[in-house]
């Protein structure tokens, strides 16, 4: 089973984690000003890259913290993990 390195607890089995989708999707500054189409873009539309992808993960069976990870969608390799609030590190694809 794949090990995911929690930024707090270190490497743990994937079964301890919960997937949270794309990271760094900012909440609209003025939601009421959005058109239906813009709101749908915010709620439903996500990147689907072939390669490095910044995602949210939660260490749900461990420290229960959310953090971010850059995962290569082609190889499932985790290229970097970083704590919530930290900027996305530069990764080589």
């Amino acid at each position: 089973m794949q090990l995911i390195p929690c930024p707090w607890c270190g490497p743990r089995e994937e079964a301890e984690f919960h997937y949270g989708g794309q990271a760094h999707v900012a909440y609209p500054e003025d939601p009421s000003a959005l058109t239906d189409e813009e709101w749908a873009q915010y709620v439903f539309f996500r990147e689907n890259p072939s390669g490095p992808f910044a995602e949210r993960w939660s260490h749900s069976a461990g420290c229960r913290r959310w953090f971010n990870a850059v995962r290569d969608t082609r190889s499932h390799d985790l290229l970097a993990v970083y704590r919530a609030g930290e900027p996305m590190p530069e990764v080589l694809s």
Binding site: W8, E13, C63
Partner: protein
């Protein structure tokens, strides 16, 4: 009379010796503390006579007005305070006083988990049958405290000595864990003289 979660398992767990000595320590006082301000954490520690752990995945122990107290690291701003039974109300009061106006919370979670003490030369081998955390003494020395899965059940595992561990398990999962432990011990019982 209150019946502990593993009362019905006392005989079957005792029969696992000498491969593994298993004993339940039910009803311990447990308080979940959320706080991140260093001054508040220090004040709560000195009120209990124990320094709160600052290193992830560790626990600390000390002694004060409530006797022996352990503080377990659960997250960067989350701790579990564990003490002898029937102290939770007074500990909660003291911790809330020490927290003062700092942002945080103190919640009595004593009923959530029961405690199982495991001791014996095979304790790390038995746990390794269902736990993916590296339990080698070099990776998990005494003082280690991890939240993880044991046989798919969420546990808090404290390493308290070379051959000694403490497992905190949710009360409703305790009997399942006891059954799993009994099964995982079979091969070591056969090998015991």
């Amino acid at each position: 009379m209150t019946v502990s979660p593993l009362a019905a398992w006392r005989g079957r767990l005792a029969a696992l010796a000498p491969a593994l000595a298993v004993a339940e320590r039910p009803f311990r006082s447990q308080l979940t503390v959320r706080a991140s301000e260093p001054s508040a954490i220090a004040a709560m520690g000195s009120a209990l006579g124990v320094v709160f752990p600052s290193v992830p995945c560790t626990f600390t122990a000390g002694s004060g007005q409530f006797g022996d107290v352990e503080v377990l690291w659960l997250g960067p701003d989350e701790f579990l305070v564990v003490a002898a039974p029937d102290l939770q109300v007074s500990i909660e009061e003291v911790l809330r006083g020490a927290l003062g106006s700092s942002r945080g919370s103190v919640v009595d979670t004593s009923a959530q988990r029961t405690t199982v003490i495991l001791e014996g030369p095979h304790v790390r081998d038995v746990l390794a049958h269902g736990c993916s955390v590296d339990l080698h003494p070099s990776a998990a020395p005494a003082g280690t405290c991890v939240q993880t899965l044991l046989a798919r059940t969420g546990i808090i595992l404290q390493v308290t000595g070379p051959d000694r561990c403490t497992v905190l398990v949710r009360s409703s999962f305790a009997e399942y864990l006891a059954a799993w432990l009994s099964d995982a011990c079979v091969e070591y019982q056969a090998a015991a003289p």
